[in-house]
């Protein structure tokens, strides 16, 4: 029994934390333009719109959402079920109002997505996006999250207590370092 592989897959199927492990496994997804392996161009553009609608950060360039689409593409390339789920899902998005999803107004796109919330396709894309988008070190910068700190000696000398807009706690409540 190849226990490990099995666990991982079962886990991925059963947990909404699943995407985390997947993203970690497909790290290094190229961020420069979409080189899609399994999905056609239309699907790629539709997913790009959808991922942005799901987690809209207006000042984040498309580049960062493309990383998410590439994660979905990589999964579709390795798994026929996922490929089918995405293909059918894109067709549903396009069919909902008789106008392709990418051509819908923002309000109409949201209405279509809201109506699809319980659809496995929607859940797959949402679950993947919420992990892949916010797990990208380049995106961390946008949010002011500094990421790994051990190699810089932690924050002991780099501002762990640099907040000055409230008063200092008493020495009893918060002794000086060292």
């Amino acid at each position: 029994m190849s226990a490990k592989g099995m666990n991982r897959r079962q886990f991925l199927q059963s947990s909404s934390l699943a995407a985390g492990a997947t993203v970690a496994a497909t790290s290094g997804a190229a961020a420069q333009g979409m080189g899609l392996k399994a999905l056609d161009d239309h699907s790629g553009r539709t997913l790009l719109k959808m991922t942005r609608d799901l987690y809209p950060h207006d000042t984040l360039a498309d580049l960062y959402y493309m990383v998410v689409v590439e994660v979905l593409d990589a999964e579709a390339a390795g798994n026929d079920d996922t490929a089918r789920l995405i293909k059918d899902g894109v067709a549903k998005l396009d069919g909902a109002m008789g106008v392709n999803f990418v051509d819908l107004s923002e309000g109409n796109r949201l209405a279509v997505l809201e109506a699809m919330e319980s659809d496995p396709f929607f859940q797959k894309v949402r679950g993947t996006t919420v992990v892949a988008l916010y797990n990208d070190p380049l995106v961390w910068r946008h949010f002011g999250y500094e990421g790994p700190s051990f190699e810089y000696g932690g924050y002991i000398d780099r501002g762990f207590d640099d907040l000055r807009w409230v008063g200092e706690p008493s020495a009893d409540a918060s002794p000086k370092a060292g």
Binding site: L17, A21, D53, G147
Partner: protein, 522 residues
């Protein structure tokens, strides 16, 4: 390191190397007792840990299949992950934040003090705070807990400053950087905290106490410990005259081995411990080992939990420094006038951006959520953790059809919040929000429970055999040489984080086991 024979029936076998098992194994070795420590996970060192939330999650977590049921929100948000705990040498002490609080006197007597709470299976512990005090003292010394034994508190980080200011404005009296088993200065071969901020990802500096960095190396130094990693216990065997005799486990190559034993101590955390007893059912023990009371797996507690995050006009950068950097203890009293029995703690907590996205509001999407995330570096946060009510139906059972990689039934975790838990969470959300509003919060977010990090009570201690699984020493009522050595023993959960008490009970249990072995009673 020792290397005992599989047929050596003079050894004590300890299952699980976390807070309970790792400590117990060391304490027994210090007394010259031969110990085989079976640990399902791999051994990592400080250099292996990664400052990356998802990578670390994949490295350290227990990801074997589990299922959920019941009305708790975790079953909806994280259906396949009821608990967030570790499978690695050191167990969940590799993950833990380090908060080390003693239980309060009344929390050992909840049935007496809280009375008959409808739907709850409250019971007094068969021991008191006084019984545990000398052992709490030893545990704090061993763990280097700040604000005990003359050890100074840790310095507060930005997240703490915000909480402190709000707490004081609200009139709370007891707010400080807490009792933490993280070195505020070098001690016991471990350095002072570097405020790295990845306490949940395995502390790379070793400033944080864990059984991995302290207990297991100390046990190895005695020459009495035989630690077997990637060794997952599958079943406990027994003989005809009411004693357990050995542990069947899968070794790192997946081969089954049977280790004979004089004494067996189970410390797999509160889901795997009852599962192992249930999976060990035999003709003589048809409902599972030590389960004629029917209590194995019942009364599962996970603490009332929730979080409050708030954003401010100015930056906080809460992720810098210790993850759990301070505490307000004013609400941990029992004051039924608040509309519930028992109390809760308010502890700062920070998540990195990846985990914040996953946990802030699981399942949420759209502009509102994105805007909340935009406030990440202006955010402060706290975790709310309080006593939940034990209930017979909150329970670990074996799944009817799903099996794991060894062909054994997987555990199902069924949980419903008790009305008291809901009332307490509501109060805690209001108070946590008020703390941040007092500092001028622009937005406040009430975050639902994460997968359970505190898992308790599924083989509880009881005075009478019909009320629980083990006695005041963690010795099962039915099988004299079978012990429960982790948080499963807890009769009730108390408001405080459990690990200090798990370690305390393990130290005390080691004394008892050594004495009983000396007297040839076991």
């Amino acid at each position: 390191m020792a290397n005992y024979d599989l047929s050596d029936d003079s050894v004590v076998v300890v299952i699980g190397s976390g807070a309970g098992g790792g400590t117990l194994a060391n304490e027994l070795c210090q007394k010259g007792i031969k110990v085989v420590l079976l640990e399902a996970g791999k051994r990592y060192g400080e250099n292996d840990f990664v400052n990356d939330e998802w990578d670390s999650f994949g490295q350290l977590s227990w990801l074997d299949k589990r299922t959920t049921s019941g009305t708790w929100r975790v079953a909806k948000d994280f259906a396949g992950l009821p608990a967030w705990i570790c499978k690695t040498v050191g167990g969940s002490t590799v993950h833990w934040a380090g908060a080390s609080l003693r239980f309060q006197e009344h929390e050992f007597k909840t049935r007496t003090v809280y009375g008959d709470v409808e739907g709850a299976t409250l019971l007094d512990w068969p021991i008191s705070l006084q019984d545990l005090e000398p052992y709490y003292d030893k545990a704090e010394d061993k763990m280097g807990t700040t604000r005990t034994h003359g050890i100074p508190g840790l310095p507060g980080n930005n997240n703490f400053k915000v909480m402190y200011t709000g707490a004081k404005r609200l009139g709370y009296k007891n707010v400080n950087t807490g009792r933490m088993s993280i070195n505020s200065r070098a001690r016991d071969g471990r350095p002072a905290c570097q405020q790295i901020g990845f306490c949940f990802q395995g502390c790379k500096s070793g400033a944080k106490w864990s059984t991995l960095v302290t207990e297991i190396p100390a046990a190895e130094a005695t020459g009495k410990l035989d630690l077997r990693t990637q060794a997952q216990a599958l079943q406990i065997e027994h003989d005809a005259d009411g004693k357990v005799s050995g542990v069947l486990y899968a070794d790192k190559d997946g081969n089954r081995q049977l280790q004979k034993a004089r004494v067996i101590c189970v410390a797999g955390n509160s889901i795997e411990t009852p599962r192992l007893l249930l999976n060990s059912a035999s003709a003589q023990h048809p409902d599972g080992l030590a389960n004629s009371s029917g209590q194995v797996g019942r009364n599962y507690m996970r603490h009332m939990t929730g979080s409050v995050y708030a954003t401010f006009d100015k930056p906080v950068n809460m992720y810098r420094g210790t993850t759990m950097a301070g505490i307000i203890t004013d609400e941990s009293i029992n004051d039924p006038a608040r509309g519930f029995v028992g109390g809760y703690e308010m502890e700062t907590l920070s998540l990195g951006l990846p985990f914040m996205a996953a946990f802030l509001d699981p399942g949420a999407w759209g502009r509102g959520f994105a805007e909340a995330m935009e406030g990440y570096d202006h955010m402060a946060g706290m975790w709310l953790v309080g006593e939940d009510m034990p209930q017979a139906s909150n329970r670990i059972t074996l799944h009817e059809s799903e099996t794991d990689q060894f062909g054994l039934p997987v555990p199902n975790v069924n949980f419903d919040d008790h009305a008291n838990d809901i009332a307490m969470r509501n109060h805690a959300f209001k108070q946590g929000s008020a703390v941040y509003e007092a500092v001028g919060a622009t937005n406040v977010y009430e975050t639902p429970p994460y997968p359970s990090t505190h898992n308790l009570g599924t083989c509880r201690m009881s005075e009478k055999p019909q009320d629980g699984v083990c006695n005041k020493w963690g010795q099962t009522h039915e099988l004299a040489n079978l012990f429960i050595s982790d948080g499963s023993q807890f009769t009730t959960g108390a408001a405080e984080n459990p690990t200090l008490t798990i370690v305390t009970l393990a130290i005390r249990q080691a004394d008892y086991i050594a004495e009983q072995m000396g007297q040839k009673s076991i």
